[in-house]
């Protein structure tokens, strides 16, 4: 019995040995990513090819579909969603902009969304450096705007956000699975 105990302890140490790097954070399953407007601004900047100054930058985490049903299941309809994963998504405006006729001062904001079957409500909010939408506060909203849902034929395995040039400014495109939305922003 004593020997078995010793062997058991030995095996336990062996298994624990594989956890030696426990303080070192692993690569995130929903990795963070960055989008800028102008598109690829940091790369253009070092090549002296940027034709206009940076207007906006988004930091967002990219959850992966992994065979799951996304909207209406993993992400509930009609509930505030963090528009990503992990820390809630943040946008920095480097100049004042207008969304849905509401003027937004330059600075950093969080973005949330309330997905529904036919439309998403996009929320720009003042809370920063937070996790998810668990402590979301309506009183910190800056603007809410409804945008229609586009159903796409191509499937995006990971949640995505990208900017593109648009009338009077630029637009945020975001989506996951077979759903995509576009949020126009004017400068």
């Amino acid at each position: 019995m004593k020997r078995i105990t010793l062997i058991f302890i030995g095996s336990l140490f062996f298994a624990l040995g594989s956890m030696g790097q426990s303080t070192i954070p692993a690569i995130d399953k929903s990795p963070l990513d960055m989008s800028t407007y102008p598109v690829n601004y940091p790369l253009l900047k070092i090549q002296d090819k940027a034709q206009e100054p940076i207007a906006a930058r988004i930091l967002y985490s990219r959850p992966v579909k992994n065979n799951r049903v996304i909207f209406g299941d993993l992400v509930d309809y009609n509930k505030v969603w963090r528009f990503g994963a992990n820390e809630n998504t943040e946008i920095e405006f480097f100049k004042d902009v207008t969304i849905n006729k509401i003027k937004i001062k330059k600075g950093k904001y969080s973005i949330f969304a309330i997905p529904a079957q036919d439309k998403w409500t996009i929320i720009i909010n003042k809370d920063l450096n937070s996790w998810g939408s668990f402590k979301y506060e309506l009183s910190k909203d800056v603007v809410r705007v409804d945008v229609p849902v586009q159903v796409t034929t191509e499937i995006a395995e990971a949640f995505f956000i990208y900017f593109e040039k648009a009338k009077d400014g630029f637009a945020i495109n975001a989506g996951w699975d077979n759903i995509k939305i576009t949020l126009p922003i004017s400068m």
Binding site: S11, F14, I27, L59, E87
Partner: protein
């Protein structure tokens, strides 16, 4: 005879169990990086060297969500995490990915940025709150850590005329070696250490600030 057989079988079961636990763990780690970076996306491809955040204090947003109101946010670090993938990283040769005496972006892709939410002290120098690009010049025995004010840029072609502060810190051995470049904050009695580690190299930047709320 029966008893020793039981002992043997218990030993082997435990041994095999512990082996498969280790193997499983490593396999899923590798598989998840590849499946993430190779996953289909018609709009924005996943990055080979994904971006990550480190918070000082560690995991600040999660702690805040849990209701830990005593924590004061000091710093937020945004950096990309390249993988070693069998390459020679730190060394004398120009072929090394992070060659000695050549500025290195402390990450990948966009320049690494650190935001301080209050003034801190590093190597006797007062660093004003705000956002800085962080890069380093690796040497065999030390790293020169440099704060730069040219924000929202790519990590290459650093504009040295925008350097605002530099300090040398010693290099120690990272054991066991690390596959993915890692930066994290660890609490100290006088503030926090910014730990930077990749492969078998580790350096520590002590940051001093007041702990009171």
């Amino acid at each position: 005879m029966n008893r020793s057989l039981t002992r043997l079988s218990v030993f082997f079961t435990l041994f095999i169990l512990s082996c498969t636990t280790v193997a499983k763990k490593e396999n899923t780690a590798d598989a998840s990086i590849d499946s993430i970076t190779n996953s289909t996306n018609p709009y924005v491809k996943m990055d080979q060297s994904p971006l990550d955040l480190s918070w000082c204090p560690a995991n600040y947003p999660i702690e805040k969500m849990k209701g830990n109101d005593s924590l004061k946010l000091i710093a937020k670090l945004t950096y990309s995490r390249p993988h070693k993938k069998g390459r020679a990283l730190f060394g004398e040769s120009k072929d090394n990915l992070c060659a000695y005496n050549v500025p290195w972006r402390l990450g990948a892709n966009e320049a690494t940025e650190i935001q301080f939410f209050e003034n801190v002290n590093i190597a006797g120098q007062n660093i004003l709150k705000g956002t800085y690009v962080l890069y380093c010049i690796p040497h065999a025995d030390r790293w020169t850590i440099i704060f730069n004010s040219n924000l929202s840029t790519w990590g290459l072609h650093i504009n040295e005329s925008k350097d605002v502060f530099k300090t040398d810190i010693p290099v120690t051995k990272q054991e066991p070696p690390i596959e993915d470049f890692t930066m994290l904050f660890e609490d100290t009695p006088t503030g926090a250490n910014l730990i930077m580690a990749w492969d078998n190299v580790k350096s520590v930047l002590p940051i001093i600030f007041s702990k009171g709320k």
